[in-house]
């Protein structure tokens, strides 16, 4: 088990390094210069003020989303639960967009955006809860209802965006999820939030492992099922809201990384949760590096400077392919 962590950590560091050297504007050699203390002012600025926070935000957001997804899947005992299909992410997007449109929060005051996203995420989750009913029903049904809830919330978001079209350009990027232009402010906001809720959910890993076994077993082990589930869901919503406020609605990370984590670390959440966080960080950071590299290549081949590939597009495509695999592989068990 320890070796797996070590290997994954090495992978994470590798991805982070790749993220630092990928991207337009400066060559890998220049990065090395800056690391050694040299380089001119522009290069130092690019590296220290743009690339470093971007990498950190990508790592943090990936970890948050993966943890939220794992918590949701365990607490609801639903392999298809994820922030995207339980209405949490669309709700958070709606909250953030609405708050911005109403002037309650601007992109300059990130804390208000986080709080609005949190409220929206809670509302989305609540909506699904009301729709599906207490029992939870069978997993696929819940997922389908979640997609419907997401459609409604997406319609509302569109409405808000069209009434206040001023920021459409930047918001569209954010709708698909991007790490473009994230600076230290975002990171300073993200890490305390992620740390607090990450620790909280880590404290809940024991109960969560029990919840995975089913309500009856958990109850006979002396767990207050309802309270544990509520707390876990709160953690998941808060983590998602933080990540969404930082990088936008990154597709499918929260749905599929937990499956990877379960495959690598097994079903013990005490190991699985940190593992999922690590894996999520790797996936988002790696995807961001790949997106930067490919947009660099595309820009070189197409000879147009305005082409940038948002990381969310890459994770969505990747995630869609993975979801197909998951759906196909487990026909009898899950569906």
């Amino acid at each position: 088990m320890r070796w797996r962590f070590v290997a994954l950590s090495a992978l994470a560091v590798g991805c982070a390094g790749l993220e630092l050297v990928a991207g337009r504007g400066m060559s890998p050699g220049a990065v090395w210069d800056v690391l050694g203390g040299g380089g001119d002012a522009t290069e130092r600025h690019i590296f220290l003020q743009l690339r470093l926070p971007r990498m950190l935000v990508a790592l943090g957001a990936g970890a948050c989303l993966a943890m939220a997804g794992l918590i949701l899947q365990s607490a609801l005992r639903n392999p298809l639960a994820g922030p995207e299909v339980t209405g949490v992410t669309p709700g958070a997007v709606l909250g953030a967009v609405t708050a911005t449109a109403l002037g309650l929060a601007g992109w300059e005051s990130p804390l208000a955006v986080v709080l609005a996203a949190c409220a929206g995420g809670c509302a989305g989750a609540l909506l699904l809860w009301l729709l599906v009913g207490r029992g939870g029903g069978d997993p696929a049904q819940t997922a389908v209802h979640g997609v419907l809830v997401s459609a409604v919330l997406g319609g509302l978001t569109a409405m808000v965006l069209l009434v206040e079209p001023g920021e459409l350009g930047s918001v569209v990027q954010w709708l698909v999820g991007t790490t473009e232009g994230r600076v230290w402010e975002h990171w300073h906001l993200l890490w305390p939030w992620a740390l607090v809720w990450g620790v909280a959910s880590w404290l809940l890993t024991g109960p969560l492992t029990l919840l995975r076994c089913g309500d009856d077993i958990a109850m006979s082990a002396g767990l207050s099922v309802r309270r544990a589930r509520t707390l876990a869901l709160m953690c998941a919503v808060a983590l998602t809201a933080g990540a969404v406020a930082a990088v936008g609605a990154l597709g499918f990370v929260g749905l599929l990384v937990p499956h990877l984590a379960m495959a690598v670390f097994g079903a013990d959440m005490r190991v699985g949760l940190p593992g999922a966080a690590l894996l999520g960080a790797i996936v988002v950071c790696g995807a961001d590096a790949a997106a930067q590299l490919s947009s660099r290549l595309l820009a070189a081949t197409l000879d147009s400077g305005r082409l940038t590939l948002p990381v969310g597009a890459l994770t969505a495509c990747l995630g869609a392919a993975l979801l197909l695999v998951v759906v196909r592989r487990t026909p009898s068990r899950t569906f």
């Binding site: 298809l80 029903g137 696929a140 319609g155 569109a158 350009g169 569209v172 948002p310 597009a313 759906v327």
Partner: protein, 381 residues
């Protein structure tokens, strides 16, 4: 239904700036180009209304075809990737600033829609469990939307507004040209619909029974998908994916005459689709005037909750019926993904809504609104 349709049409024609009182409508239409009201009504509002009716009818019929063919109350174009595929096909040349003749647009939409739908069905292995198909479809749709968003990120700010509006399904500023572009497609789709309707009612019995009756289930399903694509793609090319009409309309049709079969539901579903789009277009035009909201956002907002409510009450109803008449009825009549998990509230009595259905005589479905005799909407800007 006719009353609702009439009210919505008159609203669509009268309201807005300039306001044309109902009693002067006929005069305005006859006046033609001579007065301001005449121009507005003839050139803007009438085509818009006609387009709303046609688009709604197409989407409603396509939704019913898909739902019946896949035996799945949630199989709607949006969740099968058909709509997003078509939208991608239309938006791509817009963003990449390729100049294409207008006639090619429906073809592109057709290609995109076929791609999305085919991909979903192939990936889901055709007739597997309904939820598997839906989740695969959601994945495909998400991937296609990601591609769309990449395109949007590349677009200029000005194009972006336009594309975003289009992607949500908007009927604003459509003229007679857009309407006439739809006719050839309708001519292809309508006979196909008539031909496939009986097959659909056989498909309802389940694959095995259908094959016993001489229907090749897989092939029929593919044909149904093809028809749905032909219906949806041209509409999407003109007014964007007006969301969730294909979900709501068939459920409305079933709600009002629950005892009928697929053949009878088909025209009803088309009619209800037309009603839904027309009704949704009125708030889209007026709710937040002078800003125009896309009709698709309204249909999504109102359609999904309404559709879910209908589906639930209907399922409950069917469950009770099934538990009385025998298990076979449950298996064949309840296509919902929940078939095998009876809800605890099964013992609720069948709602007294049968009465609603019987009020609508079967003959009334001949009143699928003819585009020519109704009237349209649009404000001059």
């Amino acid at each position: 239904m006719i009353a609702v349709l009439t009210v919505a049409s008159v609203c669509a024609l009268c309201l807005g700036t300039p306001y044309v009182p109902p009693h002067r409508l006929v005069g305005a239409v006859l006046d033609g180009d001579t007065t301001l009201a005449g121009v507005v009504v003839n050139e803007l509002r009438v085509p818009r209304l006609v387009l709303a009716l046609i688009a709604g009818a197409c989407l409603g019929a396509a939704g019913l075809v898909l739902q019946e063919a896949l035996r799945n109350p949630l199989a709607v174009p949006e969740m099968l990737g058909v709509s997003s595929g078509a939208a991608l096909g239309v938006a791509a040349p817009l963003v990449l600033t390729l100049s294409l003749p207008a006639a090619v647009q429906p073809l592109l939409a057709l290609g995109g829609a076929a791609l999305g739908g085919g991909l979903t069905l192939l990936a889901a292995g055709l007739g597997r469990s309904p939820s598997a198909v839906l989740l695969t479809g959601a994945a495909v749709a998400a991937a296609l939307q990601a591609a769309l968003l990449v395109l949007m990120v590349m677009a200029d700010q000005l194009d972006l507004q336009l594309i975003y509006r289009y992607l949500l399904g908007s009927l604003s500023a459509r003229t007679w040209e857009d309407v006439t572009g739809l006719w050839p497609w309708l001519l292809v789709a309508a006979p196909a619909l008539v031909l496939c309707a009986p097959v659909l009612s056989v498909m309802r019995l389940g694959d095995e029974d259908a094959e016993a009756l001489g229907v090749r289930a897989q092939r029929a399903r593919l044909v149904a998908l093809a028809i749905a694509v032909v219906l949806i793609a041209p509409v999407t090319a003109v007014c964007g994916p007006v969301a969730w009409v294909g979900f709501l309309a068939p459920h409305l049709a079933r709600w009002f005459n629950s005892s009928a079969g697929a053949v009878r539901w088909l025209p009803w579903s088309a009619a209800w689709g037309a009603v839904v789009v027309t009704v949704a277009d009125v708030p889209a035009r007026l709710a937040l005037a002078p800003v125009e909201t896309p009709a698709g956002a309204w249909t999504a907002l109102l359609g999904v909750p309404a559709g879910i409510a209908l589906m639930r009450s209907r399922r409950r109803d069917r469950m009770t019926e099934g538990s009385r008449t025998g298990t076979a009825a449950v298996r064949t009549l309840v296509p919902g993904p929940r078939t095998d998990t009876p809800r605890p509230d099964v013992e609720a009595p069948p709602a007294g809504r049968r009465g609603n259905g019987s009020q609508e005589e079967p003959g009334a479905r001949g009143t699928v609104p003819l585009p020519g005799e109704t009237t349209g909407t649009e404000d001059p800007r």
